[in-house]
């Protein structure tokens, strides 16, 4: 809690503060509670949900005899022709490529929208934003037809290109805002100091917009690492699956492998968690860059 110097703590203010914090703690618990179930299931023997654990405080599920068996199962998982190693590699290749492509394309695009005046600038910006106004699944079938024509179904490109394009609108918007917030004097000074436009962009502007680059990277990362719908359509053979597709294979019409499912969910969440921890301090700055003239 913070207090202003000289501010008096009255009963009313104390009650207000307690209620406010109680509400926030309750919200945090509600958010984290399902995760506790996933963690417990992942470490509880057997594939059945909610057996083999007890509740602490009547709420928190704790395994009676914790085990790492489900994690071993994940690493040994095979589905006719596809292994966990294949799926992890596919997810990594697609995600890393998407992140690199998104950053490589949205940096110059954001720069152009910020610094260059060209005919149709407003219309072009709007055209990037237009697809975001429709539900994402609407575009899956047309995308599939296009990629089928191009022979890119069941290839990495079949996912990398739509993921990259899908993150474009928001990413360009973020990067444009970031470049807008850097005074033009800086690129002009760099050019007078002997830099070409590209060097001014690369050595002056890009380092100053790193928080936004982090945000764009994270956005592209999340969009590709966790996507199920598009991957489900585009990647058709078991050895081309990404991790979310493999995860889905654990739910069959006759049986659901809850233990392995939960362990795999946790494994998939680790990179997300790590990336979030690394970029956390950049995120808020990146998302709000350019919103206030500094």
């Amino acid at each position: 809690m913070t207090s202003n110097p000289g501010a008096q703590w009255t009963v009313g203010k104390v009650v207000q503060a307690v209620l406010k914090h109680a509400f926030l703690i309750l919200m945090a618990l509600i958010s984290i509670y399902p995760v506790l179930w996933v963690v417990s299931t992942a470490f509880t023997p057997g594939e059945t949900l909610a057996t083999g654990w007890h509740f602490v405080l009547g709420l928190v599920p704790v395994p009676n005899a914790p085990t790492l068996d489900h994690f071993t199962s994940v690493f040994n998982l095979q589905v006719t022709g596809g292994t966990f190693a294949d799926w992890l590699r596919n997810s990594l290749v697609i995600t890393v490529s998407t992140v690199i492509a998104s950053v490589a394309l949205t940096l110059p695009a954001g720069y152009a929208f910020s610094r260059r005046v060209f005919p149709g600038r407003g219309g072009l910006m709007f055209s990037f934003l237009l697809p975001t106004m429709f539900p994402g699944v609407v575009t899956i079938i047309p995308q599939f037809l296009i990629f089928a024509t191009l022979g890119l179904v069941n290839t990495y490109w079949g996912c990398i290109i739509p993921y990259t394009v899908g993150s474009f609108a928001l990413s360009i918007f973020i990067m444009k805002g970031a470049f807008d917030s850097v005074p033009r004097d800086l690129d002009e000074a760099a050019m007078i100091d002997g830099a070409s436009e590209f060097r001014a962009f690369w050595q002056i502007l890009v380092p100053l917009t790193l928080p936004s680059v982090a945000t764009v990277s994270l956005w592209a990362f999340m969009g590709s690492w966790l996507d199920f719908a598009l991957a489900h359509v585009m990647l058709q053979t078991n050895n081309m699956w990404t991790l979310p597709l493999a995860l889905y294979s654990l739910i069959t019409p006759t049986y659901t492998y809850y233990g392995t499912f939960s362990a795999m969910s946790l494994i998939m969440a680790v990179p997300v968690f790590v990336v979030f921890m690394i970029f956390q301090r950049y995120l808020v700055t990146g998302l709000t860059a350019g919103s206030v003239k500094g």
Binding site: P183, D185, L186, E188, A189, A190, M191, I192, D193, G194, A195, S196, R199, I204, P207, L208
Partner: protein
Amino acid sequence: MARVSIRDVNKVFKVSPVVKDLSLDIADGEFLVLLGPSGCGKSTTLRMVAGLEKPTSGDIYIGDTPVNNVHPKDRDVAMVFQSYALYPHMTVHDNLAFPLKMRGYSKEEIEKTVNRAADILEISDFLNRRPKELSGGQRQRVALGRAIVRNPKVFLMDEPLSNLDAKLRVQTRIELKNLQKKIGTTTIYVTHDQAEAMTLADRVAIMRQGMIQQVAPPTDIYAHPANKFVAGFIGSPAMNFIDGTIKTSDSGAVFQCEEFSFPVHPAVSRVIPNGSSKETTYGIRAEDIVVDTSQREGSVEVSVFGSEMMGSEQFVHGKSGKLTIVARTPMDFRASIGAGVWMNFTSANAHLFDTETEQALV
């Protein structure tokens, strides 16, 4: 070092002309100040020399080379921005080294040159700091350092002192002048502050609405303004203007306005043929008016409506009818608000301007 030549340059933004038919020659090693009110086109002119704006028509030369189509990086000019434009993610050392790196200097040369510039500007102690850790004055020095570090042909300065406090501004402008004399690099300096222009410039070019009004050394501009705008813009407080008619005769010249009339010094009235009269604007600076508490020959009475004590001197504001006049007096001059004082406008340093064209007649 190089001379800079601006020939018949026009700049139009969309449909608004910002610079009109501007021609100016800046000699090798000269310190030229572009002075004018906001929006007069002085910064645009500077940016065209830097290559940050392209002239709509006309030519710009640096040395003998036409530079209209030369990229800023290849013009060999250095610019100090009003905002300083220091690279926030680099240390002071790296800020100074950046222009040298861009020109392919070796590591040893960069170190030597950066240290020399830092010594000249006394910024050696904070070479490892970032701009945000510096005071305004220190940042300003770093910005200057980045300009002098690579010995460019021309310095371009866009109101570089305007973010400093008054005391530091005075100190820095003296240092800047000495530095420019020492280095001898041709400098074009933009400001709206006439005190900066008067103290720094070898010549001042006064601009208004995209056009040059007068180019001359500061003392000439002050003593012989080309027109009413220049006369009113230079000098603090601004020159007093009285609209009326000057009449000359064998017995001398008299200036007649709505409120009063007073004799005109022969050195001023000589431009009006004897025995004629002409509608003109009479201009006189505060220091050329003699103020008295009692009537003297040729003086006119005005009522005091304010005074400003400046320390060593005092400015007395007087009013007569619709006319307001400000005059300089010694600090011990006493005049209470509402009291009448007598002002004498008959000075050899007064000016006459054509009422229609506003051009100086004398």
